[in-house]
Chain length 254, copies 2
Amino acid sequence: MNKIEHPSCADLTQTSCDACPIRASAAFREFSPPELDFVRHFKIGEMRVTAGSTVLLEGAETENLYTVLSGWSFRYKSLADGRRQILNFALPGDLLGLQASLFEALHHSVEALTEMRLCIFRRDRLWALYRDHPRLALDITWLTARQELVLDDGMTSLGRRTARERVANLLLHLYSRAEEIGLADENEVELPITQQHLADALGLSLVHTNKTLRHLVDLGLVHWKNRTMKLLDAARLADLSGYEPTDKRPRPFI
Amino acid sequence: MNKIEHPSCADLTQTSCDACPIRASAAFREFSPPELDFVRHFKIGEMRVTAGSTVLLEGAETENLYTVLSGWSFRYKSLADGRRQILNFALPGDLLGLQASLFEALHHSVEALTEMRLCIFRRDRLWALYRDHPRLALDITWLTARQELVLDDGMTSLGRRTARERVANLLLHLYSRAEEIGLADENEVELPITQQHLADALGLSLVHTNKTLRHLVDLGLVHWKNRTMKLLDAARLADLSGYEPTDKRPRPFI
DNA sequence: CGGCGTTTTGACAGGCTTCAAGGGCCGTGG
DNA sequence: CCACGGCCCTTGAAGCCTGTCAAAACGCCG
């Protein structure tokens, strides 16, 4: 399996929040000393999971709140007969399990696409965070609002876009997300997903996803091989996808 | 067709927050006196819009934050060629425009289905709310997380459910939402929507939506006439829809 | 080399869309 | 009082986009 490398913290058993690899990214805002201090105590520990493992399971209760430190994963829902819908992909900096912290149980599952490192926060201290660190609370709201943007666009794709538009749209979105946190450049990105994942995210069958993707490749708009994607003509892709780039402003973080 | 109306609030007899019709509902939690006091000042005024008017327009900036006091509306996105996807329906107690408060611009529109009364909050005081009233901040987070539940299920429908499953699922969902705030009982509810709205929410064509709905009616599972829906066999509907009821716990509110 | 997961292709079926037209309901106006 | 127009709902027919079935090619790894 492909792994996402984060050399700076590769062999650390427990990253100090001071040296958090996430915070170091230019995409996130700076913490004040008191905030940093709180976060250090809010955090219970770290978790490392292997590619393919289930991080969160639909229906589970009493889960904690997690933050992705490294690695890719995806949220999904399953129907009784096995049909699966991928809701979105979670990258470093994303929050996981907030639902479980606010409601009785989780209504979706999360699966790791690569080896992942997760920061674990105590769900019972979420209230303390809101009470004592409003700026962090606002950051959480910001993250959830941002995710809603993604879900809104995803719904529009599933409901009203053609297969070709959906594929083009998702490829651009994935590149954009990866680039934002420095996992891509030169229009090239390593995506740890199979075409089956694309299909489940797009609401299409595997076969049709393949044919559509191949079509875009044949048109010379994108390269897709060995878990690596390269955008060859992002402008034309965007053109036939109705893609609307999302807000790029600095991003807060717990 | 769609016009933005911003009637002056001056002539309206402003509802005192103390007697807020939303808070009176058993579905919402009680406010503490200080919270009530803050909300009173957070609120700038009320707005009344007529059925069919556009409450929020995609791309608009510097919008305020709204809360629905009465009436139905829906959030939607449009594609360049006119295709429309309804993202969800907003009922009394729902928040509108949080995105616009956190980001540069709105990425979806909102249209009123009935006459509506909206409570207007100052977007620039959102930070004060988080700073001084963490419980209210948590309430906002709760509302957005809850909306995410709805979007997740909607995505699953659009991506992986058949037309029949989608229709059955949406009807149950709409009834559930209406019942929750006392707008429905005896399995009967007045839905101010046309089949075109159903179609746009389900990602189906109007024709196919009609045929599918008619099929459910012919099966004796539901009644649909004159903007009124009655669930005749909710169990069987749920059975063929893969419906999962959402959390029913008391609901917070700004 | 063999096994397995992934990608690719072809053929066919079908669910859903599109096109088209008629019917019902209701407010408006002659 | 009835005709008329505008929505909305309904129904039929034809066609296409996408799903399903099947099988082969490919690539990686033990």
